[in-house]
Symmetry: D2
Subunit: 368 residues, 4 copies
């Protein structure tokens, strides 16, 4: 197994994008993006892991995007992504039979792209809570033709350093059928749209029994994995802290991302979803630290020994080498890592300003 | 709604391929393909719907494929498909790290293709019960590279009228991960392999909540749907009669196939799986008749009215038009259809030679 | 198969309860229960199938429940059920470790029971969107003890003609674990609570692969099925019209309810959920008519012939008899049924006051 | 967190039962139970964790059960359980409509009980691969009545120190419906059968999204959890090594068993399933060691601190305390534990006689 010092440089690449939506504390949901970016900066100061944020429209609409961009720069962070939110009906309809509805939906997506450009970000995430309610309501095939046409119009407007990230919307209680139900649909459309269109996966989207890590490996192989949304469970939607349930899956996913080179800058954009259960900085800090823990374990896999075992057909030996990294307790090492970088020992407490929020630091408790 | 006479010519295109494996009555599994083809012919005589059969290796290995081909022709049927069975370990390994294992697996697939050519069929189905048992056992990405290499070698040997049909193997109790877990993987590989490589779906392979009919529509749109295996339930594996459980899904799938032109000759090869629960001709006859019933309903959809309702945004009206076809009882009409063609009133009884097997004919019972 | 006239008296028993929540048209959600009951009455006038409504607190809180009761009586309907809604945090906590939180949650449920008594209803539905967010957050076993204690306090207050209906909440994106995840938990608690506590199922709650109809049959056998919430799909939550997707499952469920005597007055309370996708009377009318269609089919099962086939081991014969009822087109007969009772030919149009809403009546369209 | 020495006495209670079926190496499946018990003894010698075995009929039928019992005693192990295998059709039918078929199935179960008595075991596991193939084939409710009647006849014959363990069979590709699909059915029947009937869970049986650990906690609370079959994944059936995929779920399940007192002698019988993927001693040793690792972690939960955090409403604090135990690397400690007991450092190598089988011992590799 590599020594922890050997993996430190690779771990330094780790960067997790936070959504502005994560920082809406009040039930009204009316919190301005300036405050949200300040929260992202607070998490970044406390963890060293979150230099970028994702905004979404219409929630984060501002009169002066330039001012928001400068605000972010002053705080030492930036906006990497704009998500085209389609929760409101007037923003849906990229595949609608009525051309006026399609135009309205495209205009929303164009505005998102405008914001992305003005704010200096590079990824436009298209995530469509869209489809049909009833069998027969619309022609399934024609919808795909219209969808691709709309996406092509959007792709057309990208600058050379921007990407269109198409993310699946697996199932929806209000929909009989969603337009982009799986990674296969994303891949087919992104392949047709060309180089700047990439797939955005998340842990919740997969065929039953098929490990998400297989899809990650496949899309990296195809050069089409642009982003990965980290969710706590293999469900289509979830509001919890990442890694709460099956942390071994998170480990396997991050191992494939590392294996495929996706952890390097310009690779796979790792992003958190909001965590309504623990809103604000505390929930995000804890999710980010879990991602760091699992990335550290993934980097600890003894690649050389693993490769040798795999090639020689030593099935159980290879499995053992792989799992040994997962079972290693990296928390004391990460505490040192933070100390060396002048990061707070208890990032959640530091970010939130509440001493108890970070729960006292795990390594200390272990000695008790 | 179209009159039944209007849909009769389209219904005449319906053809369902039967697997030789369906006719293995004895527990030993040692029944020769000559007898299986005679059973297929018996079902075809009784239903007019099953002119072709699918063989598989190693089960259907014969010394003289030409004799088998002539035997089929004498019976008025032919072999359309050879399935590369990978139930035995020595036939697996197209993605294996050891080149000798890969070669052995390829040789098995080459033998299947040889049989396909000798028997005069056109579709080679690759259906891989293959993958890894343990996380870390093999490199997921390298496996896909090796798999594509193996498939390319196979595709290279196809003649101009042959197709390689890649079918997903979603999950497996003995496998941590399967190599071809979903339609997205099939599509990515078939797109890379070029024109003669197509996807073989079946009802059991889909993301949770995503209707299979969406995938059918998408693959037809992409020109990559080669075959559809009709299964009774949305499970990865099943041994029952088709349509036993959710016949409305079968209706929606067949509607998309009809909508996409896949029901025409050279389109989507509809195929049954064996039905171990009711082996032999009776189970196959009943499955085939259910497919015919649901195809008739799909053809009865009033396409013109549906199109108008869809375009005008009459959501519930469109749904109603669609479902009206599903709720129409086509059984009396199909009884007439059989009578006009000189087909037996009770196909299961006729095919099996047992008067009771067909259960008396539905329309007659309804009058009781 | 029985003649339609034979099943008409049984069909007359059919009664489906509508939720007041179904009739909240405005996005504010602020519509008063008086107006909702008027809508229920409108659906009942148009279909003859919905004489009762379900209210829920806090939404349907009124100053003078007596006035609401008289209002309902004037309209020819009544309130059968009050649902204890736990969407707001202050209404959750029947199992909470803090006794003050538990008391607050119990008080909410007591208020619901008070309303039930004042309004003259008989079923109190407990449906808990409750549980824990994180593994370890609370003691799973102690939660069940506290929950039963809370339910016992509620059950204690029931009058002799009231029932406590415990309904499962399978999964929740915001919860790691729900307190009443399945019918087994409901049954265990209701068995402990005694005679007046019964289980409320719905189509969305079941183990993977286990048909809901099996659970219906089991709970009827155990004398513990109190209510059945009809949902369109086998998902935990759904917003669509009933029967949209798999109508054959609905048929099988209703067959078991009929088989177990649950369709008789005082048996299983059939209830719809709101249908946000088609809010208001139109969505409810269409769902109710689908339930009537499927009940008619369930009643058409030739029970005598089925019994004989089952006993004689004629497996496929029994299946055929069962499915013949499902495949019968009962729509023309139900149109006659409505005509004979002086009910409108197009109930959705009649209930909504919009001629087009009912989509023209299926039998008429069929002739076109 | 408790010190390792504090949990050592509790860990000493851990005992995992091995199935004789796990040791069938040859494809013929004809290996005699004498050899299988020798393998169980070999695993026990190497791990100190597997003093008992489970036999099943008809596979383990022997002329002289007394001789087998003495053979086991000589080897230092014993038989705890007999599983009534229903893979062969002539052993199914406890719920069949034909009384002759029911009698034949009961006779099989009676023979299993006879073997249990003669061999000196205490648990009879009823695990029914039984149900119906087609909707309508049999009366679902009557089947349950017949099933309970059959189980009651079996329960009647139990001696005072024997238990009937009813285990669910969730889904089956060959069945439309299984007779004992979930824990709710098991519980309802065991409650009716009285004190000596208990539920046998396994990791693969649960409602979607409902954590298995909730069911474990509930059944322990109800005094009805008799056994737990440890499987590697939340699937209905699986052939892999335990803990391969989601080891955190295994940790949570074992925590509930410990919490509910089920780890003490006479509590919950922990049992492995065969692991066809790695047959023989190696697969079993590795599964057993994973169970030990996760039990050690479950025992390391700081119960006092957890209780305090839970009671004070410190949600994230409680979660942290819980997960700290899971994230602790117990492998070095367990290596010491083995050394102190004179157990081999590499149990898999010791049990199999092949030095490489145990993969070199994890702690040693970590230093590399």
């Amino acid at each position: 197994m590599p020594a922890f010092d050997d993996i430190a440089p690779l771990l330094a690449h780790l960067s997790v994008e936070l959504p502005s939506r994560a920082f809406v504390a009040e039930p009204t949901g009316r919190r301005d993006p300036f405050a949200a970016l300040a929260d992202v900066a607070r998490v970044h100061e406390a963890t060293g892991l979150t230099p970028t944020a994702a905004l979404d429209l219409p929630r984060d609409a501002v009169r002066d995007p330039g001012a928001l961009r400068r605000h972010a720069a002053d705080l030492g962070v930036s906006v990497g992504t704009v998500v085209c939110d389609s929760a409101r009906e007037e923003h849906r309809g990229l595949a609608h039979p009525d051309p006026r509805v399609r135009r309205r939906a495209r205009d929303h997506h164009f505005r998102c792209l405008d914001l992305l450009t003005e704010i200096g970000g590079h990824d436009l995430v298209v995530h469509l809570a869209d489809g049909t309610h009833h069998p027969g309501q619309d022609d399934l095939r024609a919808r795909q033709d219209r969808l691709v046409e709309s996406l092509a119009a959007l792709r057309e407007r990208l600058t050379d350093d921007q990407r269109l990230v198409l993310r699946p919307w697996t199932a929806d209680p209000a929909l009989y059928q969603t337009d982009v139900p799986d990674w296969g649909t994303c891949f087919a459309h992104c392949a047709a749209l060309g180089e700047r269109a990439v797939v955005g996966l998340d842990s919740g989207q997969h065929a039953p029994g098929a490990p998400v890590e297989s899809v990650v490996a496949q899309l990296l192989r195809l050069g089409k994995l642009g982003a990965f949304g980290l969710r706590p469970r293999p469900l289509a939607d979830d509001d919890l802290i990442v890694g709460t349930a099956d942390s071994s899956q998170l480990f396997r996913i991050l191992h494939e991302i590392v294996r495929g080179g996706g952890h390097r800058p310009g690779g796979v954009a790792l992003a958190l979803d909001p965590c309504p259960v623990e809103p604000g900085v505390v929930g995000q800090v804890r999710s980010v630290l879990t991602v760091q823990e699992m990335t550290a374990r993934a980097l600890l896999v003894d690649r050389e020994a693993l490769d040798a075992a795999q090639r020689s057909g030593d099935v159980l030996g290879a499995h053992e080498i792989f799992m040994a990294a997962f079972h290693t307790d990296v928390r004391p090492w990460l505490a040192d890592w933070r100390a060396h970088r002048g990061l707070p020992a208890d990032p959640a407490a530091a970010a939130s300003g509440h001493p108890g929020a970070g729960l006292g630091g795990t390594p200390a408790r272990r000695g008790a």
